[in-house]
Amino acid sequence: MALVISQEHDLLRDAAKGFLAEHAPVSALRTLRDSDDPFGYDPALWQRMTEMGWAGILVPEKYGGLDFGIVGAGLLMEEMGRTLSASPFFSTAIMAATLLKEVGREAQKKRLLPQIAAGKAVVALALDEGRSHDPGGIKLAAKPSGNGFVLNGEKTFVLDGHLADQVIVAARTGGKAGTKSGLSLFLIETDRAGLEFRRRTMVDSRNVADITFAEVKVDGDQLMGKLDEAYEPLEKALDVGRACLSSEMLGTASEAFERTLEYLRERKQFGVPIGSFQVLQHRAAHLFSEIEMLRSVVLKTLLSLQASDASSSFLASLAKAKAAQVVGLATSEAIQMHGGIGMTDEFDIGFFIKRAKVASETYGDYYFHADRFARIKGY
């Protein structure tokens, strides 16, 4: 497994670059934000992405997808990270598609995967219940009732939650909060009685919602995978998501860095370009090295997930932790090296630090993954 990007993937990347520059540049995110768009993304743009095959990138061919694999999905995320393009790509085409593939019942797959690939369904994953990522800490209860279950509890910061057609809900069917056993997944239509959605406005202007479950009744066949045994497949899918988010963060870090380099060459003070000051050169060179390290880690992680290697979770945590560090540094340095103009809303660089921070928190921040990395290594 050579650590290089194949020609096939290079082509995909080039196509994505061209498409996003034309249809979804950073200014598109600004427009969405300023218009208080209720969706938080542009459905017409999502349709176009779907026509490019992106919505079905992880969906098997027999369900109408491209089945292009995780490396391709990661590269698309990287490019989207450069343009900060908002769409249901991550929630639906990556997380929901992966979970459905891993643990969906045949009927669920048959119904929903083609809809996902056709861009006709947005599917959200309702997982965490507090401020920070904690998949073991799930409390939302699913109690057996008749031939089905009744769900009660709260979910927080559900990505694309308030506009989803379906949600995949992680619920506790056994065990105590904080334990890994006793978790189950359910696939629920969002118009079920007892569900209440509240959109939250986040710093990155994307979509999340808190969801309340009050006596929500579901049928037995809405269960995905095995009862009480969702933790492992969930972690596996989360690792795919973490790798893809890391790839997005790599894109965001690279773009913020390249914009900063441009500025270092252009902006003059003391009669010379500020990029000629050694103190800034060294910080830029250090940042470059950090971004290159992240690039290696992300590529390795995507390749190893694609090959279903045993080391994937360790690598996913490495990638997510490193990405948080690097994109944090890249976006903070971007602002500092732009001086006053970097602090203005009119200038785009601020959008990068905002999205970077949300992506860093999503599915585990630096500390979560550093801890997981160490535990996997036995300390």
């Binding site: 050579a2 650590l3 290089v4 380099l261 270092l264 060459r265 010379v272 370009p273 990029g275 000629s276 000051f277 050694q278 800034l280 050169q281 060294h282 830029a284 060179a285 250090h286 470059f288 090295s289 290159e292 390290m293 992240l294 690039r295 290696s296 880690v297 590529l299 390795k300 490495l318 932790a321 490193k322 550093a370 801890d371 990395f373 160490a374 535990r375 290594k377 036995g378 300390y379």
Partner: protein
């Protein structure tokens, strides 16, 4: 594919048969590394046998052409050989500046005569080389070097001084930067010369390091006569060769931490020394620093791997070596610091009768030189800023 499988099998079988048991243990002491050279004394028969057998196949320099003493392997085959060597925990049969630095430079810039004369001797470990670059007044600003070589018809006459010349006192030959045109701009009057350290007028004086050993020297040249044919490349065009050689040196130094320090798995070492409670290290602040370092280290190793894979695919650039050197050596130092923290006062022993390995304290001290030798970290950052990022030059 099929060919590579056969190659793997054959390699495995050959190594099984030919790698002496004593050469399959980790290197722990200084004398475990075989540097070769005219006066080299092997430490045990296993070392001699292992070198003889590996050199016989050209596997001390697997990718060099067979006519130059190499194995003539393709990059894929070389990767397999490396993996198989690692699999049995084999020590390198030979380590040397000839392999890491001079060889690649001669392959690119040397005449056919130079290649035929020097490369096979490097491959067999017969001649040990040292590097005559730095001078008392030419360190980071290497191109300001003053050691001069005057044209005396059939030979050059060398006068001047080098410093920090690693293993000058143990080496047979030197690759040396000399000024051949004092009037030209500094980069354009430098030539790349090879000569025998046994030549009349060469003398060396060891310098002791903070780590106690004396691996490097001051080197003096007093009317040393060097035959004209020992010039590599063109007269006054040595700077390009010097820089090319440095890219190899930097990548080597950057990657050196992989083999050098013991306790290479810091987490496991810390867990053993300090102990764990509910699966995590007892010292939580140290754990946080270790995990941060280990993640960076893993990222660095992957970057090394990617750089090599990209170079094989023809996409590499020379400036990458500066990045690898910068990251690798800074991490090396940090690693040594963390090992010291894990080991407390035990790590500060200067002599340790109970352990054949050089005490940790000395390795920690030696690691400080990693970000100086081969060009300092600051210089590597300068190179990245200028050559990779194309930032404007200062005034």
């Amino acid at each position: 594919m099929e060919h590579l499988e056969t190659f793997t099998e054959e390699t495995r079988a050959w190594l099984e048969e030919n790698c002496p048991a004593g050469m399959r243990r980790p290197m722990r002491r200084e004398e475990d590394a075989v540097w070769g050279g005219r006066n080299y004394k092997f430490h045990g028969e296993d070392q001699r046998l292992w070198l003889e057998r590996m050199a016989g196949r050209g596997w001390t320099v697997p990718t060099w052409a067979k006519e130059y003493g190499g194995g003539g392997l393709t990059p894929e085959e070389a990767k397999i050989l490396k993996r198989e060597l690692k699999r049995i925990g084999a020590r390198p049969a030979l380590v040397s500046f000839g392999i890491w630095m001079l060889g690649p430079a001669l392959l690119k810039y040397g005449s056919e005569t130079h290649k035929k004369e020097h490369l096979p001797r490097i491959a067999r470990g017969e001649i040990r080389w040292c590097q005559g670059y730095s001078e008392p007044n030419a360190g980071s600003d290497l191109a300001s070097l003053q050691t001069k070589a005057e044209d005396k018809g059939d030979h050059f006459l060398i006068n001047g001084q080098k410093v920090w010349t690693s293993y000058a006192d143990k080496s047979d030959w030197i690759f040396c930067l000399v000024r051949t045109d004092p009037k030209a701009p500094k980069h354009e009057g430098i030539s790349f010369l090879l000569f025998d350290m046994a030549s009349k007028g060469v003398s060396t004086k060891p310098i002791r390091l903070i780590s106690g050993s004396s691996p490097f020297c001051e080197t003096f040249f007093d009317d040393v006569k060097v035959p004209k044919e020992n010039l590599v490349g063109e007269l006054n065009k040595g700077w390009a060769i010097a820089k090319y050689l440095l890219t190899h040196e930097r990548e080597m130094i950057g990657a050196s931490g992989i083999e050098r320090l013991p306790g290479s798995d810091l987490g496991a070492t810390a867990a053993e020394v300090i102990g764990t409670k509910s699966g995590t290290l007892r010292n939580h602040l140290l754990r946080a620093d270790i995990v941060r370092h280990e993640m960076d280290w893993a990222a660095f190793l992957l970057t090394l791997e990617r750089a090599r894979d990209e170079a094989k695919a023809g996409a590499g650039t020379g400036a990458v070596s500066s990045m690898l050197k910068y990251i690798g050596t800074e991490l090396n130092k940090e690693r040594a610091e963390l090992l010291m923290a894990i080991n407390g006062l035990q790590g500060l022993l200067w002599e340790n009768e109970e352990d054949p390995e050089p005490p940790l304290s000395r390795q920690w001290l030696r690691s400080k030189g990693n970000s100086i030798e081969g060009g300092t970290s600051e210089i590597q950052l300068d190179i990245i800023a200028k050559r990779v990022l194309r930032l404007p030059q200062g005034n």
